[in-house]
């Protein structure tokens, strides 16, 4: 069986390699849904003659699973979140960008040039950064929303009308903030409390959905939605009377990064595209579309002026800290998986 699989994989690799050789001037992107404006891709094609193909995914974990199940070698670039960059590097799924290969590397903002998830930016460049918290429909609820109680212990008006992201990482990180315990805690009492709190909170939730997180707020199907800041801004612009909260207990911060994948079939095109995205004008176009923040210097002049004053981008004075999702050890991750199953069983 094993040898059969191996020879099968080898045969497949050969075919892929053969088709890659003929694929001059192509770029295959593996990206989040609704995160890349077509104009930016068109502009890249116009400038370089490189044709871009894009497949999309709806969670870091789905992307990892697909790459590990054999899609590695078909894509040049992917856009994992912060913690997923370190996981992918640990799994050996990333290629290293040699010094001097990226001529625009100096454009990376100083505070993002050497992040803990990719020291020295060996595999990645910044794409967008922002926060994950939640938004509340102000037609339904007028009270204080700057607390994680809104998600886990909501007032009566909101109970049963809450959409959570269908993502273990985001939900458990938020839950840890709610309980005031560290992420990936190994303390058994804290883990038990986390389990009990989430299982109890489920009765207040109407659905788990990530890719319709914006749409359920716009349609009014949900009165509260766990959501990313830029997505909340879009929902507000589409007519939902919602307010994005920065809870006093804290919120999830994140940065998505463009990574160079191992065995990229069009490595040269990939490097060109990374350089392209490090030019302020181009990444600003992405920011104007996605409404998050770029990690590149000099973008300000190209940004839509209304973005700077957007309420979703400006935490209030009493907002808690923004924390990145941590990568748990295997033992803790097993307990986290068990908790997630208990919540969704």
């Amino acid at each position: 069986m094993k040898t059969l699989l191996k020879s099968g994989a080898a045969a497949l690799a050969l075919t892929v390699a053969a088709s890659a050789a003929s694929a001059e001037g192509k770029l295959v992107l593996y990206h989040w849904f609704e995160y890349m404006p077509q104009e930016v891709l068109d502009k890249f094609t116009a400038e370089t003659g490189i044709e871009v193909t894009m497949d999309t995914y709806d969670s870091n974990e789905a992307m990892l699973a697909s790459l590990k199940a054999g899609a590695i070698g078909t894509y040049d670039l992917a856009v994992p979140g912060d913690y997923m960059v370190s996981i992918m590097a640990g799994e050996g799924l990333l290629d290293t960008i040699a010094d001097g290969e990226l001529k625009n590397k100096g454009n990376i903002q100083a505070n993002w040039a050497d992040p803990s998830f990719d020291p020295g930016r060996k595999h990645s460049i910044p794409y967008q950064w922002g926060s994950t918290s939640f938004a509340v429909n102000r037609d339904v609820y007028g009270g204080d929303i700057q607390t994680t109680d809104i998600l886990f212990n909501p007032p009566k008006e909101l109970s049963g009308r809450i959409n959570m992201l269908d993502s273990q990482g985001e939900v458990l990180a938020m839950a840890a903030l709610h309980l005031g315990i560290p992420q990936c805690s190994t303390d058994r009492e804290q883990l038990k409390a986390l389990n009990a709190m989430l299982v109890g909170a489920k009765q207040h939730w109407s659905s788990f959905n990530s890719d319709t997180a914006k749409e359920v707020l716009v349609s009014g199907d949900a009165a509260v939605g766990q959501i990313y800041d830029g997505f909340a801004a879009k929902a507000r612009e589409e007519g939902a009377n919602i307010e994005y909260a920065y809870p006093t207990q804290g919120y999830v911060a994140w940065m998505d990064n463009v990574v160079l994948l191992k065995d990229a079939p069009n490595r040269d095109s990939a490097i060109k595209f990374m350089d392209f995205l490090l030019e302020p004008e181009n990444i600003a176009a992405v920011t104007n579309y996605a409404q998050y923040n770029a990690g590149v210097t000099g973008v300000e002049t190209f940004l839509d002026p209304s973005l700077a004053t957007q309420p979703e981008k400006n935490p209030h004075a009493k907002a808690g800290p923004g924390v990145f999702i941590e990568v748990c050890s295997e033992e803790v991750q097993e307990v986290y998986d068990q908790i997630w199953t208990n919540v969704k069983k």
């Binding site: 974990e61 990892l64 699973a65 199940a69 996981i87 109407s206 307990v335 998986d337």
Partner: protein, 309 residues
């Protein structure tokens, strides 16, 4: 699918006896590559050790089956007690699929009967009409269904406008919505086999029953139903089996709040859990259940044929 009537004349079989092996080759090769190999792979994977964050280590392990049947507490270090979690998820899926099947039968049988009793030249048109919605992708149909049923959707608007209800009925994100979605997704699989059976039915039998003073109800129950039973059972299996493994309807219409077998398995491959052997084991257990069901059906068929002589 083991159909009811296996009526190929023996003469035909003999004609091609020489070439039979070769003629069957394409079918065998296709089946081996597309069915046997993946299933064998799943079976092997379910007995391997899981690799953290997806993948397998090539070491024999029963951990996946242990996880399915043994509850060892939140930290996995307590003695084994019966694990109800996954059995509960399986039961939920069976119940949802069963309800959807009954709904399909209730609507599908009269529909099939209606089509089969139309004048012969119009029947293809009716069958065609049944299949038209299924030219559209299942995902799109399920999302459309959600739009129709939502609180601010056309259905609720209509009911409020005609004054039947005052506030919207919550249908989306309930079990009922899931059943409705499954019913809608797989209805033609019920209609078509029953239609095929009813079309072959000799209606003079019904007339004979009526001549013998049988009421319409008795004729339906004792004459028509036994004659078309293979079609009904085939229809039920064709709706029930895909409903059990489905995850589109539970995710989109049920709000993904409760795992169904399909979404539980999906989570093992696509979600955080990344536990491939467990996903494979759950698939194997599901498949065993379905196979047992099909075997029971086949045995019942064989017995019925024997009884007929």
């Amino acid at each position: 699918m083991a159909g009811g009537a296996a009526s190929g004349g023996s003469a035909t079989t003999d004609t091609y006896k020489e070439a039979r092996t070769w003629l069957l080759m394409p079918a065998w090769v296709t089946l081996s590559i597309l069915v046997l190999a993946p299933v064998a792979m799943m079976l092997v994977y379910s007995f391997l050790t899981k690799e953290f964050r997806g993948g397998v280590i090539w070491e024999f392990s029963l951990a996946a089956y242990d996880q399915f049947f043994c509850d060892r507490g939140l930290f996995g270090d307590e003695p084994c007690t019966i694990e109800w979690t996954y059995l509960q998820i399986f039961w939920r899926s069976i119940w949802q699929a069963g309800t959807a099947t009954l709904l399909s039968l209730a609507i599908g049988f009269p529909t099939a009967y209606f089509i089969a009793t139309r004048p012969e030249h119009t029947r293809p048109m009716w069958v065609f009409l049944i299949t038209i919605p299924y030219w559209v992708n299942l995902l799109i149909r399920t999302v459309s269904m959600k739009f129709l049923l939502r609180d601010q959707g056309p259905l609720n608007d209509f009911l409020i406008n005609i004054g039947l209800i005052d506030s919207p009925i919550h249908i989306v994100n309930t079990n009922f919505a899931v059943q409705l979605g499954l019913f809608y997704s797989y209805l033609p699989f019920m209609v078509l086999p029953i239609y095929a059976a009813v079309e072959r039915y000799n209606f003079s039998l019904s007339e004979a029953a009526a001549d013998l003073y049988a009421t319409k109800w008795v004729t339906l129950r004792r004459v028509l139903l036994p004659a078309v039973k293979p079609g009904v059972i085939a229809g039920c299996i064709l709706v029930f089996v895909p409903s059990m493994g489905s995850f589109l309807a539970p995710d989109l219409l049920g709000g993904a709040k409760n795992f169904m077998i399909g979404s539980l398995i999906e989570e093992q491959f696509k979600g955080n859990a990344g536990n491939w052997p467990f996903g494979a084991a759950a698939s194997m257990i599901l498949m065993t259940m379905v196979l047992v069901l099909l075997l029971l059906y086949a045995r019942q068929q064989a017995r019925a044929e024997k009884a007929e002589g």
